[in-house]
């Protein structure tokens, strides 16, 4: 028994740390590809800054376009981390262990990426710091009544919390790396692991930290996407001015976020050969979670549509007409419902599908496609025919610039994840070991039932 444990601890170290200790063959090509994609985005931003936003497809009245859509999308993805790690931690779901860190890291990078978009979509990017209350000598302040001030505060809080969460949970693993590396890496890990030695007190506090931070971040996580949704909901634009936006956005975010985590788990599993750590059981559990989430999402989606038509106000009806019956919005509507709910949930109903890695990969991708479209579908039509002054109604075609930006955002997130995976294990090693320790079996009759140890 004990020998096996020692072996397993070594095995866990070897299996989970190999991407850090020796470089996977595909790592450099991946990094280069991601950087190239990112380069496109950098070029786009340069053009926008030098020539003005005219280079984009924006116009009057559609002043907000792909950039804001992408912002909402990435904030949505960033809701995976807390959803997974915090809620599962609080519920003490044993299967969470391999999933948590990947999810949290995804949160950090996608949130950072998202935070870039409102900035680069500003007319005068170089003045972005004016939204901070810094100007004490002239007493020029930001306007706290504006949702665009609520946004930074919320995103900053969430980003800080998530990053600290990741960092603290990394301490024991960085200690492991410290003991297994030499040279500058050893020095680096010695510093970053803060001299962790792993005595009972440290582990106990580490555990409490998990609980406390989860409890603290959950409310923040809800508030972040609510505030993002209020950017739209507090304005008078038809199809935006709906009270349901806050929970609707949050649940949509969870929907796309958890799907994003599924995608990421599949990639990790295959890329790092972690088959025996990320098992079909995990996908099964995530699939079941997703059924509930998707259904809740559909409920709010329906509420939104229903109340838009209800009351028969000309402006709302006009927007809804366009959203459901006109090309391409009608097609998008169809795609959103079919790809976002009907196909995936229909498939997740079957255990065999939930446990089939490739299926889960495919489904999580289409869910996120539909969620991206959903944000587009929510944000643009309301602007195209805002209010009843039909003289100003207009359409919106994204320019090459915006499309480059959208792609580059994916490049940025991938790049971040790749670099992180080179320095830190994407599966919490010490939590895996703890999980091993807490596994047990009990015999009932002729059957041995898998069991877990609770203090």
């Amino acid at each position: 028994m004990q020998e096996r444990k020692v072996l397993t601890e070594l095995q866990i170290n070897d299996r989970l740390l190999w991407p850090v200790l020796q470089t996977p063959s595909w790592w450099w090509p991946a990094v280069i590809l991601a950087s190239l994609v990112l380069g496109g985005g950098v070029t786009a931003v340069t053009l926008m800054v030098t020539l003005g936003l005219g280079v984009t497809g924006l116009n009057r009245p559609v002043f907000w376009g792909f950039m804001i859509v992408n912002f909402v999308f990435w904030v949505g993805i960033s809701h995976a981390g807390v959803m997974i790690s915090s809620i599962l931690r609080l519920c003490q779901a044993e299967w969470r262990r391999p999933v948590t860190r990947a999810a949290e890291v995804l949160t950090v990078f996608s949130l950072a990426t998202a935070a870039l978009f409102p900035l680069i979509h500003m007319g005068r990017l170089w003045r972005f710091y004016w939204v901070f209350p810094y100007d004490f000598d002239r007493m020029l302040w930001p306007n706290v009544r504006s949702p665009l001030i609520w946004d930074p505060s919320a995103i900053f809080t969430y980003l800080t919390g998530a990053s600290l969460f990741v960092f603290m949970a990394l301490l024991p693993d960085m200690a492991i790396l410290r003991d297994r590396t030499t040279g500058w890496k050893h020095t680096m890990y010695s510093i970053t692991s803060l001299g962790w030695r792993g005595n009972p007190r440290q582990f106990k506090l580490q555990f409490i930290l998990g609980i406390l931070l989860s409890g603290l971040i959950l409310p923040v996580f809800v508030s972040v996407h609510s505030i993002v949704s209020w950017d739209f909901a507090v304005s008078l634009v038809p199809a935006w001015h709906a009270t349901v936006f806050a929970p609707y956005f949050v649940i949509g975010a969870v929907h796309s976020g958890v799907s994003g985590v599924v995608t990421m788990m599949v990639v990790l599993r295959t890329a790092f050969k972690w088959q025996d750590y990320i098992t079909p059981d995990h996908f099964d559990a995530l699939g079941r979670l997703l059924i509930a989430v998707a259904t809740a999402w559909l409920y709010f989606f329906m509420l939104d549509v229903l109340f838009a038509i209800y009351g028969g106000e000309t402006k709302e009806i006009a927007v809804m007409n366009q959203r459901i019956f006109s090309w391409p919005w009608g097609f998008f509507f169809f795609l959103i419902v079919v790809l976002g709910y009907i196909i995936p949930v229909g498939a997740w109903m079957f255990r065999s599908v939930r446990r089939n890695i490739m299926w889960m990969f495919f489904l999580s991708i289409i869910v996120n496609m539909s969620m991206w479209l959903e944000r587009l579908w929510l944000i643009i039509p309301g602007l195209q025919n805002k209010e009843r002054l039909t003289f100003n109604w207009s359409t919106y075609q994204p320019g090459i610039i915006e499309i480059m930006l959208v792609f580059s955002s994916f490049g940025l997130v991938c790049l971040g994840l790749l670099i992180f995976s080179k320095f830190f294990p994407l599966i919490p090693v010490w939590e895996e070991k703890e999980g091993q320790l807490f596994q047990a079996e009990i015999k009932i009759g002729n059957r041995t039932v898998p069991a877990i140890i609770r203090e």
Binding site: R145, I149, N199, Q202, W430
Partner: protein, 171 residues
Amino acid sequence: MAITTVLGVYREPENVADAVSRLRQAGFGDNEFDILSGTPYPEGSFGEKVQAHRLYLWPLIGALIGFSIALLITAGTQLSFPMVTGGKPILAIPPMLIIMYEGTMLGAILFTVIGVIFESRLPRFSLGVYDARITQGYIGVIVACPQEKLGHTEQLLRESGADDIKKESGR
């Protein structure tokens, strides 16, 4: 008087528990020896006792500080820069609530993390006597023992099945 830190490295958790009880018999207090492991064992697995901590104060203090700072910023900026926007009151409470909420949570989170680092006696600038095998499944028992007890302690650790013993004199 000189204190030597002795580290015994074990393979078997069972032996560690044994060592702990022996150390108790040898008259070592709970804060004179400590256990280092790569895996979080359930609390008290080796019969050790973890001293109480005051972690629950930290988030509260943080929340209070964050709240008051946010209140200061939101109320202060609006009052010191009284511009009418959209017929809204100069001191608009609901938006303030949102930002104050975020400030509160930020303060709480920051102080929780600081609190945990502080309470777990980190950062630790020198590892002291340590063995890299600890993060590979071995378990270390680390004893701060005065000169005269040194020999006895080493023997005790060996008897309880330590694979290896390391020493470092002084604190």
